[in-house]
Amino acid sequence: MNMQTLNPSRTGGDAMPEGRGASRLLSRLFATRPKAVTLIAAVVLALIVAIALFAPWLANHDPLALSPANRLKGMSESYWLGTDAYGRDLYSRILYGAQVSLIVGVGVAILSVAIGLPLGLLAGYFRAIDAILMRIMDGLMAIPGILLAIAIVSLTSANLWTVMLAIMVPEIPQVVRLVRSRVLSAREEPFVEAAVLMGTPTLKLMIRHLMPSTIAPLIVQGTYICASAILTEAILSFLGAGIGTEIPSWGNIMSEGRIYFQIKPSLIFWAGLLLSACILSINLLGDSARDALDPKMKRRNA
């Protein structure tokens, strides 16, 4: 046995049949970090979830209530973070903004996995479906996600559902490719060959024997999708192509704050701070999940 086979990074042990260098390297991009960081990320995310859940009780103003007499006020006893250009309470609006971000993030993650998983299983198992489906996915992946989302929003009325759909469509091909590559390598395993020889029905084979190997990477991928969906929603709202401006989302708050940025930067920075903290903690938790679910990866990066 020579040095090469001892080095786990060179045996291709984690079975990524395609894109040898790139996809494997990409997946190990975010790796080394102390446990304390994971803990802090979990606490920050828990706080943001609590803010979203308890927004009606934590807020001390109606987030939609206009008060023309109190436009662009600074921090005060009544308005903790001041008011925006319409005299609405910034603090209360930011609390409610957490709801939109989390709904979009979790919703898009669950839906794109729910749609991508069966498609990936089919593509990995049936040659004929694979050829057609993957060409469609290649085409979809060639369209930059943000432009696709912008086009979908511009063609439909902008509400929460269309925004989620718009963010979800570019994410699905990634899920399909991930599931497909796992299925392709799982099919080579002896236990799958045994199941095939025993005449296991196709559906049962896919669900009982092929699907389990996709679960761990999908959990990891799901957290990354969640983070990127929250980011995309904020970008769409910021550009004015997101959910209706009457809904207080972090992106909308920042979008409305743009004109007054030089007078009152806090209109952008508070929402930006929470948005960044939210995305950062979800990304870090995704990294931890990946390390926990794929011990090989962790050892390699240690």
Partner: protein, 313 residues
């Protein structure tokens, strides 16, 4: 060799066809009358009828698709609803600011992230390694527009080093161009720097274990030569790949950065088009950027085959 090139180029055609089909179906299958969407809210019934005829909406769907595809291939990407100018002309007019921004950003990215990644890999586990790794996680998670506004607040409003917003062409003088491009280019490159410095580090770590690196050191080469001439050159392939896959990031970054810094480029064009519901412009920009994505990735693939004798299919 040649046959591989030809096959790869041919393989890119179905991808473009799927893109075109998708963009086509997006308009046709969206709720509501495509003619009404194309015509905008203010259209008269005569205008609607004219657009309906021009789009061939009474023909079967597949004939509509091929007619439209033929127009695209002849370079006819339609006409803006708002300005009544051909979409390609509008894109051409907005190209320069976006190209300047993208190229300066790529320059910043390479100058900053490659040395950072190389040093981080070289001093694996050290303070600087940990710093680069943590900074890039943060850079990856903070939205581009938040970084943009932070830079404006610090360098334009507090320190007054640069103007807050705007764009000047390079042909109007180097000084005004540079002073206005630095902040947007830093903003746009932030996410790329995060990505590429990590990629360089990971790729270098992989290469630094190789036998030929030990040989290079053993024959007495200096560390600098080992790192940059032997290691980095072999680590470059995955780094190049990330530049290709990172193109989507670049597109969303351009759209956002141009909005934050008020740069009249392609990113502003699509945002204005969305606000005005100017679908032909959106459609043209999607087709062109997707085409560019396919071409960039094709070139990267081909450059591997040209430079790395191990890659042969």
């Amino acid at each position: 060799m040649l046959s591989y090139f030809v096959r790869r180029v041919i393989a890119a055609i179905p991808v473009m066809l799927v893109v075109a089909l998708f963009v086509f179906l997006l308009l046709r299958l969206s709720p509501g009358d495509p003619a009404a969407i194309i015509a905008g809210d203010m259209a008269t019934p005569e205008q609607l009828a004219r657009i309906r005829a021009a789009l061939g909406l009474d023909e079967p769907l597949y004939i509509q698709f091929f007619v439209w595809l033929g127009e695209l291939l002849r370079g006819d990407f339609g006409t803006s609803l708002i300005s009544q100018t051909p979409v390609l002309t509008m894109i051409h007019q907005r190209l320069e600011p976006t190209l300047s921004l993208a190229l300066v950003s790529i320059l910043f990215t390479v100058l900053i992230s490659v040395p950072l990644g190389v040093i981080a890999a070289w001093r694996h586990g050290s303070f600087i390694d940990n710093f680069v790794m943590s900074a890039s996680v943060v850079g990856f998670s903070v939205p581009v527009f938040v970084i943009g506004y932070l830079l404006i607040q610090l360098f334009a409003i507090e320190l007054r080093w640069f103007p807050v917003q705007g764009f000047r062409s390079l042909f109007d003088g180097v000084g005004p161009f540079v002073s206005r491009i630095v902040l947007p280019a830093l903003t746009l490159s932030s996410i790329y720097i995060a990505l590429i410095s990590r990629m360089t580090r990971a790729s270098m770590l992989e290469v630094l274990d190789e036998d030929y690196i030990r040989t290079a050191r053993a024959k007495g080469l200096g560390e600098r030569a080992v790192l940059f001439r032997h290691a980095l050159r072999n680590a470059a392939v995955p780094i190049l790949t990330v530049i290709g896959t990172g193109f989507a990031l670049m597109v969303s970054g351009v759209v956002v950065t141009e909005s934050v810094f008020n740069i009249p480029g392609l990113g502003r064009l699509i945002v204005d088009a969305v606000l005005a519901r100017d679908y032909p412009v959106i459609q043209g920009l999607i087709l062109l950027t997707s085409g560019l994505y396919v071409v960039i990735n094709l070139l990267i693939d081909l450059s591997y085959a040209a430079t790395d004798p191990r890659i042969r299919y």
